[in-house]
């Protein structure tokens, strides 16, 4: 049984109601920007259909495209490495760094390396790791994990960032974002100019050319990668796409879905190593082929990590990314994580109202609510759900399956609510009522009223 569920972890986030409301609104603001950007593109729905179909095709011929990508990359002078899991990925990276005597590695945002827990591993092995995306640097200095795949420090207020920078960078305690970003700029540019190696993620790997496309707004991936003598790009094997022309489709969708921008400030295409420098790519499985082998859940591999499903999700917005306990939080995380470790993450598919908003905004049209529903069934069948929930569901199922039982149960509940308020909806018995009050019970049900008034039935 799972020690910490999404619901229990969210309790601490929800303790501060003012902050919860602020977090909710901050993300809703991003969702609204996404809507404006999407509605400004007349062919938006056509692009989503195309993106979905391109991904479906790519995943169905994934081996061929991975081999083609590897071949082209090798022709370009890129050294390709393969890693079955996180441990192998980390060992490959450390091996490259050790071979070149690297002491400082600068990194641009990479969710894959978060997933692999690369930073603590490298630090244990004597490599200084510097995150160069502002949000990533904030959570790194705070000793935290990112709470959002696109906006890692969305859970932190500017006053907290000011206090953190004051403590770690020696700045004055000024919460002005312009002042704080300027301080980070000076700090990070200095570190990047003296780094021995740079590591970036990969947004898209093009099989046709071997190009690796990296998108940032800050320009940090490019500053780091073009200054250091060694560049390592880490990619999940789901990042490959067949041809350059497909970039047109995905890039039109990615930033608009993520932040409402028409495109990120920088869309960098790494093809060959810089003259005199090395370029490596590490192609990582870490549970992805296992997910490929589950036809019901294969679609989760289509994800381009825009974060739109997080921004729109009423549960994510009101529970925060850390409540999910995984690198990729939110609806997409809730369909990916159970495939990695069902016992540890069985509560995540239940962290949803199944409202379907995630599927409506997904640029590659993943049926997230459908997959959440199916993961719930897997979790129940695998005994990963508490006896209370199973018992409650069985009783509810039996009640709703029979008209007479439903009517009798309704009468009983109305009677108890009137005669013994506090029994139904007692917080100790019914978690739902812990932060809600039931309305006063009516004397009769609608069906009873209808029968009396109209004499029908």
């Amino acid at each position: 049984m799972n020690p910490e569920t999404h619901a229990t972890a969210a309790t601490s986030f929800l303790r501060d109601a003012e902050r919860t409301g602020w977090h909710d609104q901050a993300l809703w603001f991003v969702r609204q920007k996404r809507d404006l950007a999407a509605h400004a593109v007349p062919e938006w729905e056509t692009l989503r259909d195309l993106a979905s179909a391109i991904k479906r095709h790519t995943v169905s011929r994934l081996a061929q495209y991975l081999e083609e990508f590897e071949r082209r990359a090798a022709d370009n002078g890129v050294v390709a490495h393969w890693a079955r899991d996180a441990a192998e990925h980390n060992a490959v990276v450390l091996g490259i760094l050790r071979g070149r005597g690297v002491r400082r590695l600068v990194k641009s945002k990479s969710m894959l390396t978060e997933e692999c827990r690369l930073n603590p591993f490298l630090e244990r092995n004597g490599v200084e790791v510097v995150e160069t995306d502002l949000g990533e640097r904030i959570v790194q200095l705070a000793g935290e994990e990112p709470s959002h795949i696109v906006m890692p420090a969305i859970h932190r207020k500017k006053e907290e960032v000011a206090a953190l920078f004051h403590r770690t960078l020696g700045t004055r305690e000024d919460p002005d974002p312009v002042y704080l970003a300027e301080a980070a700029r000076r700090h990070l540019r200095g570190l990047m100019a003296s780094a021995d190696a740079a590591l970036t993620g990969v947004n898209f790997a093009v099989a046709e050319t071997g190009a690796m496309v990296v998108c940032t707004n800050e320009g940090n991936a490019d500053v780091g990668a073009h200054l250091a003598p060694v560049h390592i790009a880490s990619m999940g094997l789901d990042k490959v796409i067949p041809r350059t022309e497909h970039l047109g489709v995905f890039l039109r969708l990615l930033a608009r879905s993520a932040t409402g921008q028409p495109v990120t400030a920088y869309t960098s295409h790494f093809v060959t190593p810089r003259p005199g420098a090395e370029l490596h790519v590490v192609i990582v499985d870490n549970g992805r082929t296992a997910q490929l082998g589950r036809p019901d859940f294969r679609e989760s591999l289509h994800c381009i990590r825009c974060g739109a499903c997080l921004n729109t999700c009423p549960v994510y917005r009101r529970s925060g990314g850390h409540s999910y306990g995984v690198t990729v939080a939110g609806p997409i995380g809730a369909i990916v994580a159970p495939g990695l470790d069902l016992a540890a993450h069985a509560s995540l598919p239940f962290a949803s109202t199944l409202c379907g908003s995630c599927a409506d905004v997904c640029p590659v049209k993943i049926d997230i609510p459908g997959q959440l529903y199916r993961w719930r069934q897997v979790a129940v069948a695998g005994g990963q759900v508490s006896w209370r929930k199973r018992l409650g569901m069985r009783l509810l199922g039996a009640t709703l399956a029979s008209v007479s039982r439903y009517e009798r149960a309704g009468r009983l509940v109305r009677l108890l609510l009137r005669r013994a308020p506090g029994v139904i909806g007692h917080p100790a018995l019914d978690p739902w009522s812990r932060s809600r009050e039931l309305p006063p019970a009516p004397k009769e049900s609608f069906r009873e009223w209808y029968r009396r008034e109209r004499g029908a039935r």
Binding site: V178, V223, V263, T289
Partner: protein
């Protein structure tokens, strides 16, 4: 070997082939509409533009926009000339001292103000990112409507590295407050060349 094990697993699990769709051509626009949309998009992403009309001197445009820039690196064949010598082997400590980079963009995209630059037009890949300010020269005749048209126009152009640049460097990582000038350039100015000028320059 991990490579073979991974590929074998992928092959075993990937299922039957699903069709790859063709990408249709979306509506194109007149040149005037493209230019207007490019300018509007550039404003939206925090960049600025200036039109080079009547044979206006590039050096003068740059002086008027960046009167204080002391270290200038230009990869363009006309004044102002570089005050720092940058080559592929220039050290990072030198590169981060560049105040102003002047580069030629190969094409511009109207829908998002992205300008393509690649190795053929650069002295060092880091230049568009480490410079405090960035000026991109663009021939308005090289504007295309969207990213599909952009990749079609770039097809066959071989380069070891290239990027779309849309406005200056920016971040919103602190409370969603937009700050222009994150780790890269603080400003981006697109100089819209006289039509056809870049063709003459490239030919010469």
């Amino acid at each position: 070997m991990s490579r073979d094990a991974i590929l074998a697993a992928v092959r075993a699990y990937q299922g039957d082939e699903r069709p790859l769709p063709a990408i249709p051509a979306f509506e194109s626009e007149s040149h005037d509409a493209l230019l207007a949309r490019f300018k509007a998009a550039l404003g939206q992403v925090g960049g600025r533009w200036v039109e080079r009309t009547g044979g206006r001197d590039l050096a003068e445009i740059i002086r008027s926009h960046y009167p204080d820039a002391a270290s200038i690196v230009s990869a363009v064949d006309e004044p102002p000339s570089s005050t720092l010598a940058i080559a592929a082997d220039t050290a990072p400590a030198e590169l981060v001292r560049v105040e102003l980079a002047v580069l030629r963009g190969r094409l511009g995209v109207a829908e998002n103000a992205a300008v393509w630059v690649d190795e053929a037009q650069l002295l060092h890949r880091a230049l568009p990112f480490v410079a405090e300010h960035c000026v991109l020269l663009l021939d308005p005749g090289d504007l295309v409507t969207d990213m599909h048209a952009a990749y079609a126009a770039l097809a066959g152009r071989r380069s070891g590295w290239g990027a779309f640049i849309s406005g200056p460097s920016k971040t919103a990582d602190i409370e969603q407050s937009l700050v222009i000038g994150a780790q890269g350039p603080r400003t981006l100015l697109v100089v819209l060349d006289e039509p056809g000028r870049s063709l003459r320059t490239r030919a010469g």
